[in-house]
Amino acid sequence: MTIATRSIPMDLLREVFVNAIADGPSGEFAAAASVGAEPIAAAAPVLDEPTTTIATEPEPEAEERLPSKADELLIIFESGDLERTWATLILATSAAASGMKVSIFLTFWGFFPLIKPGAKIGDNWMQKMLAVMNRPGIDHLKLSRLNFMGMGPWMMKRLAKQYRVSQPGELLEIAQAMGVKLIPCQMTMDMFGLTRDDLIEGIEEPAGAATVLGMVADRVPAIFI
């Protein structure tokens, strides 16, 4: 039992370090990884992978990058929380500003920020209940933690104003103006009783998981938020 619970963070740690080395041409990462590699290897001798040889691999130059679709970005947006909506839109607008083609695939709670204010959702009481329990619209999002019945979001938005951070609503407008594609998940729409008319303007045709996987197969970097 104790072995099992221990081995999980070890694997995770190792993955993080190995990924950091594989991803970044940064000396800091490589140094952190080789420092971190010793205690991990000592604690779990199963992991005899030669971390040091990975660390000494030549750093990839920007010009030598593989022709992956690094000029595209896919964000699978599932959470719909205030702070994650914010982060998603900041990433999306920054990527669009960097010349990347950005697609946001909306699924499960990810729909709620993009439902029109005042939309009457659902055909049955369960779907209607969902919309009552989770008030839709980009101005009514909840924080995933410290929500305090709306006190948290209120404070967060005040702080954002004070530090001149754009609000999610503004960022959504900018994202759409910059050509960020919002692709709704057909399955979620059906299950939640949503129609295209319930969603804000400028949303793409609905699609499914195969569309997402098709992009991943085409090596479009994907982020799940």
């Binding site: 920007a62 920054s94 669009a96 960097s98 010349g99 530090y163 001149r164 900018i174």
Partner: protein
């Protein structure tokens, strides 16, 4: 030869607006022309270096004066 220098004032704005405003401004100028960006977001130093690499617009100058960061970019 003097090139016309276009400008973006992103002082006081937080991420991602300096980059967003710069992208919008650079779209409206000609290839080889220069764009000067002023920002106060300390993260912009790293962001503009990365943005220049991603987009291919050259970061020709970079300085800081009293908390104001100045970047000069040349459109590719």
């Amino acid at each position: 030869m003097t090139l016309q220098m276009h400008q973006v004032d992103a002082r006081g704005l937080a991420c991602p607006m300096p980059i967003v405003k710069t992208a919008q401004a650079i779209a409206g100028i000609g290839s080889g022309e220069l764009l000067e960006v002023l920002a106060t977001d300390p993260g912009s130093t790293k962001d503009f270096t990365a943005w220049s690499r991603t987009t291919g617009h050259e970061l020709v100058e970079q300085s800081e004066d009293g908390g104001v960061f100045r970047f000069v970019l040349r459109k590719k």
